[in-house]
């Protein structure tokens, strides 16, 4: 019974998050008050949206290290659009940056699809290029809160039935991704391509094209997050979200999404992000320096990948058992 429960990563994660919350609640009961939990969720919303995009990419046996740079570039463009045309309706700005993000993702996807360059090399390269482009666009200047219009900054904060729009947006994205992954040919293709690329070809799935779409998806979500990030923190500069790509991958790995592709779920990605979000928000409460967060997420990544690998190994191929046991 226990072993069966432990095999289910999502349940394991829910338990882990509950235990974490319980430990914090012992000393600081205020942390688990509904209002504060909602605040923690809201604070994690952007990470959740990004983790959903990264999940699609990782499922197809690829990786997107350029997400945070894409986010920063799109966020900067959103802020520049807003300062240049303050009258432009915010939904239009959001659509514009999602398209831009999708295009940047398309660059990654094309290089992976058409030129067959390893995904890690492509996105390591575009990561520096996208961030460099922000510098070329702005000459290193910041766009500060007073230069942005009020509507631009207000949208994610706006209260809608008790939750801020930011939280609602992430909930909508989770629902959308749930449908895409489970109920559309594209979503199933992500799993098929990652699970066994050769078998996927024989079932008529174009492996490269599927990967291309995964990158477009992650790019568009990074673009959306770019606007959300800049409007939430009300500042845009070259280095926003620097290093955040690691948090996104960490969220996915913690959520049980196998880096070897084909294994993972929307719920896993969301829970992985929430796990990190709870830790990040709890650190100042339990009086641990925020500088410790990096080391903690590193440790959590390693533990999570070790746990996942053990769960995956059980159903490994029998033919090469001896070879894999080394």
């Amino acid at each position: 019974m226990m072993a069966k429960l432990l095999k289910n990563r999502e349940i394991l994660l829910v338990v882990a998050i509950m235990v974490l919350l319980a430990v914090i609640a012992l000393r600081f009961p205020g942390f688990v008050a509904p209002a504060n939990l909602a605040r923690v969720y809201n604070d994690t919303s952007i990470l959740i949206i990004l983790a959903l995009g990264q999940m699609a990419v990782i499922l197809t046996r690829c990786i997107d290290l350029s997400m945070a740079a894409n986010l920063a570039l799109c966020g900067m463009v959103a802020a520049m659009l807003n300062t240049a045309f303050p009258g432009l309706p915010i939904p239009l700005v959001i659509v514009a940056v999602m398209v831009l993000g999708g295009l940047l993702g398309m660059v990654n996807g094309t290089l992976v699809w058409k030129l067959d360059i390893p995904p890690i090399v492509v996105t390591l390269g575009t990561l520096t290029i996208y961030r460099g482009l922000i510098f070329l666009l702005t000459d290193g200047k910041w766009i500060n809160a007073h230069e942005m219009s009020d509507a631009f900054k207000a949208l994610p904060r706006q209260d809608l039935a008790g939750l801020p729009v930011l939280s609602w947006l992430s909930l909508v994205m989770i629902a959308l991704m749930f449908v895409v992954m489970g109920r559309t040919p594209l979503g199933r293709a992500f799993y098929a391509v990652g699970g066994n690329p050769h078998a996927a070809i024989y079932t008529g799935i174009d492996v490269g094209r599927t990967r291309f779409f995964a990158y477009c998806l992650s790019g568009a979500l990074a673009g959306l997050s770019g606007y959300l990030w800049v409007s939430r923190y009300a500042v845009a500069y070259v280095d926003i979200a620097a290093g955040f790509e690691l948090d996104i991958i960490a969220a996915c790995v913690i959520g049980g999404i196998s880096i070897a592709g084909g294994i993972g779920s929307v719920a896993g990605a969301v829970l992985g992000a929430l796990f990190l979000g709870v830790i990040k928000n709890a650190l100042p409460v339990i009086n641990i320096s925020p500088f410790a967060q990096m080391a903690i997420s590193g440790t959590v990544i390693i533990i999570a990948v070790a746990v996942n690998a053990r769960a995956e190994r059980r159903k490994g191929r029998v033919i090469l058992k001896k070879a894999e046991a080394v």
Binding site: F135, I249, S289, A295, S297, G298, I302, L320
Partner: protein
């Protein structure tokens, strides 16, 4: 590497002669590029050819190249180590801490190398002992090692290194040849011999081409891989000593993003990112090219972040161009 190879491998029906192969090799192309950049630089700036300026220019790549040699072996074996820059930060932080305790240069060097070895061992144990994918493990340790140095330092910095410690990053062995450059040449020879002339080197290639076949032919796969990660850690420790000595201070953000430049250097040197092929002379040439390009950009007052765009473009195009070239040739021959 999580990347499927779907196209069948073609076996050449006629092997080329040694000299023809040498002329058509990636290394030959690198020599041409390096010469062109060297000539371009010396035409663009009258100060470029000054021996002392050239000597200064070597500091741009020596530390990264030390790691790149070890990284080349890791990548040829089909793995990757993204934690090297974080090992530099942790080793540097440990040395800075030791200075506060009043330790002197020999102890600092031992600590720098020791921390590198321990970090490498942690990577190696996780990857070979538990059989985890190196890319995720080293993304994790990348965060962990630098995270530890953030915990120790926060927004502070360690300074006050002893004067004798400065020699590693600022000293000269003979005339314009700095300690770092001499070390670079020495390591190039050592790694060249190790990869191309020893059983260990052959084992590295064998693992990169077909790990299972290597195992069945008696190569101790896990042990070789562990040694490779240990070596990369040691090289990162060594680079940390040189860099810390050159800068004279330690911040937790030291060598941030270097893993990218090291991987770029290795890939530019003609090492296949999927493993199985690559040479040390190629990596040496790539190091020289990257060093000269950054130095040339420096002379032209190009800001650092623009250089990083260039390095990103370089990384993608050095892999994309041969692929496009091969395709064009195949189309022509049909």
């Amino acid at each position: 590497m999580a990347h499927a190879q779907l196209s069948p491998r073609t076996i050449p029906d006629r092997l080329q002669g040694r000299s023809a192969r040498l002329l058509k090799s990636w290394e030959a192309l690198l020599v041409v590029v390096a010469t062109a950049i060297f000539l371009g630089n010396s035409l663009a700036s009258p100060y470029f050819l000054d021996p002392w300026n050239l000597s200064d220019a070597t500091f741009n790549f020596t530390e990264k190249a030390m790691i790149a040699f070890a990284m080349a072996l890791v990548i040829i074996s089909g793995e990757i180590d993204l934690s090297v820059a974080s090992i530099i930060a942790l080793a540097s932080t440990a040395m800075g801490y030791a200075v506060q305790l009043g330790l002197d240069t020999p102890a600092l060097v031992a600590i720098g190398l020791g921390v590198g070895l321990v970090c490498g061992a942690v990577n190696g144990l996780l990857i070979t002992g538990l059989g985890l994918p190196s890319i995720v493990v080293t993304i994790g340790t990348m965060s962990l090692f630098r995270g530890l140095s953030f915990i120790v330092l926060g927004d502070q910095a360690f300074t006050g290194y002893p004067e004798s410690f400065a020699w590693f990053g600022q000293g000269y062995v003979w005339w314009v040849f700095s300690f770092e450059f001499t070390l670079f040449v020495l390591l190039a020879v050592i790694y060249g011999v190790l990869l191309h002339k020893t059983n260990f080197g052959r084992a590295v290639y064998a693992i990169g081409n077909n790990q299972t076949a290597a195992l069945f032919s008696g190569v101790r796969v896990a042990r070789v891989k562990f040694a490779l990660f240990l070596m990369t850690g040691l090289m990162a420790g060594l680079a940390s000593i040189c860099l810390t000595s050159r800068l004279g201070s330690t911040r937790p953000s030291i060598a941030l993003g270097w893993e990218l430049e090291v991987v770029t250097m290795v890939v530019l040197g003609g090492v296949n990112i999927l493993g199985g092929s690559g040479t040390i002379p190629g990596v040496v040439l790539a190091a020289l090219i990257m060093g000269m390009v950054t130095f040339g950009f420096g002379l032209l007052n190009v800001p650092g972040i623009v250089m990083s765009i260039f390095i990103g473009l370089l990384l993608i195009s050095v892999i994309a161009l041969p692929i496009l070239w091969q395709r064009a040739r195949r189309r022509l021959s049909q």
